[in-house]
Symmetry: C2
Subunit: 302 residues, 2 copies
């Protein structure tokens, strides 16, 4: 049976190449003709800690495929999720599993519409994936995947899914607190990506500005309060040490949202800071700082 990678950007290519190299039958589903052609022609050249490997790749749009997919790993940008997942409806049957490792909030609910909530898995990953051009990427072996079922329970299926990823050296573990981990990543990104997209500052510049750090504090306050309305207790000290680590070790890094803004591309603001604002509004929790930052990102890019 076949594994589908939905969204063949850097992360999609990394996961797909690893799964293909581990002996799985993988298809890459993307909307970009350039990416599809490059993958079909050259496969994927993957460099891990300086070690080169090559995986053949089969790529196309959703319409190019007909066989049901056993597992779909979703990596599209948040604003493409709904259309992308609808486009593969004909490849999903009652045995298909969906796994979103995307950034942001709201993707799992979109997957659940097509896969069913009890066939939807959520997770986060910190693998680096540096795409030189389609089909040529580098990574390290140090990344991890943490995952869990959207709805709870399903321990055996989750362990099987993690084991499957681990045969492809994807260092996956089943995390009973996966919702908490996702919200902590959201808090991190809501603070750092949103702020950097507004100010144009690097991670180090944010870390060394007392004013920016006060905004970060308020974003964490607001995100913690909204997470609580979803029954999730965000461990603020963990988010803060992840931020401190970024401030000191990734000083010159520009967040993906700032890179998107500088390139004039649409950002994922609606799925990160904007999603926290929306959930806050639904629950009656005020999020005025994130509201302001999110509007500023939209105002500056539109």
């Amino acid at each position: 049976m076949t594994i589908g990678i939905l969204g063949a950007g850097a992360m999609g290519q990394l996961f797909g190449a690893r799964l293909q190299l581990a002996g799985n039958d993988v298809v890459f589903i993307d909307a970009s003709a350039t990416t599809i052609e490059a993958l079909n022609r050259h496969g994927i050249s993957l460099t891990t800690d300086g070690q080169a490997e090559h995986a053949p790749a089969r790529a196309g749009t959703a319409q190019d495929f007909a066989e049901p997919l056993e597992l779909v790993v979703v990596f599209t940008k948040g604003f493409h999720s709904a259309a992308a997942i609808e486009s593969i409806r004909h490849l999903i049957d009652e045995r298909s599993m969906g796994l979103t490792l995307q950034n942001g909030l709201g993707n799992a609910e979109i997957l659940a519409k097509e896969f069913g909530a009890e066939r939807t898995w959520i997770g986060i990953t910190d693998f680096p994936a540096d795409l030189e051009r389609p089909g040529f990427l580098s990574t390290s072996s140090g990344g991890k995947v943490r995952l869990g079922p959207l709805t709870g329970g399903l321990e055996r299926e989750t362990d099987d899914l993690a084991a499957r990823l681990n045969t492809a050296r994807l260092n996956a573990t089943s995390d009973p607190a996966i919702h908490q981990a996702i919200w902590e990543k959201i808090a991190f990104n809501a603070a750092l990506n949103t702020l950097s997209a507004v100010t144009g500052q690097t991670v180090g510049e944010i870390g060394s500005s007392p004013e920016a750090r006060r905004i970060v504090d308020r974003v964490l306050d607001e995100t913690t309060a909204v997470a609580r309305t979803k029954g999730v207790t965000l461990q603020r000290d963990r988010v803060e040490s992840a931020l401190e680590n970024a401030f000191t070790r990734h000083k010159d890094h520009k967040t993906s949202m700032l890179q998107d803004r500088e390139a004039g591309r649409r950002t994922e603001i609606d799925y990160i800071g904007g999603a926290v604002v929306r959930l806050g509004q639904e629950a009656g929790v005020p999020t005025p700082v994130l509201w302001t930052l999110s509007k500023l990102v939209l105002s500056a890019v539109s």
Copy 2:
């Protein structure tokens, strides 16, 4: 008796030149040696609606003068007010009147410390003043001055002060609702200057962004609420039509705060948006949107 102009920037030079041309003895007090030298050497060449005039000018630092000043019109940037007014303490006696036509909040209180509250006048002006270089500026005849006493009462003195300015073609009127007018200007500037300094957008870009306009709305909400704690009822429709006018007629304008930011100069944020936040905190009125914008300006410039 002598009139002092404290802060010989564009507005200071305009007011000083007009008062000098109307037969007053004017001294320009500034901290910039370049400005002082230029004014002393060339006087002021003033072009009003294309019509040229020339006024001699006597300029120096506070220490260069000894005679008591009958009237001091203050035009320094907010963050220089306290030091500037302290520096002319030896020129102030019990008959001296202080008039601040500065932008922002908090200047009148600084004047009142030296002049006494009952010798302090406040006001706003919308004269354009375009400074090509020190001593060369252009304006139009269409500007106005509205003024009133800081503490109320003092109708006769206020009318006399307005009359005095009017002999110098400064179109001054005594405005019984001067506090309201000042707060409406604060609301206008807190929305437009602060937002443009954060986003880098022109007035027209702000006006054409629905997201930016929603931020403007929230800033007006917050400023209205803080003004109310000071007993001032802000007429929101007047502020909104001033903003609409700016959006349509001054599309390409960059606010002074954006110009300051782009030039790497210190901004007046602490005296505009930041002052509203501070007064809000004192009164227990939340101003999270202005708080965020103010911190962003400080973070981006520092």
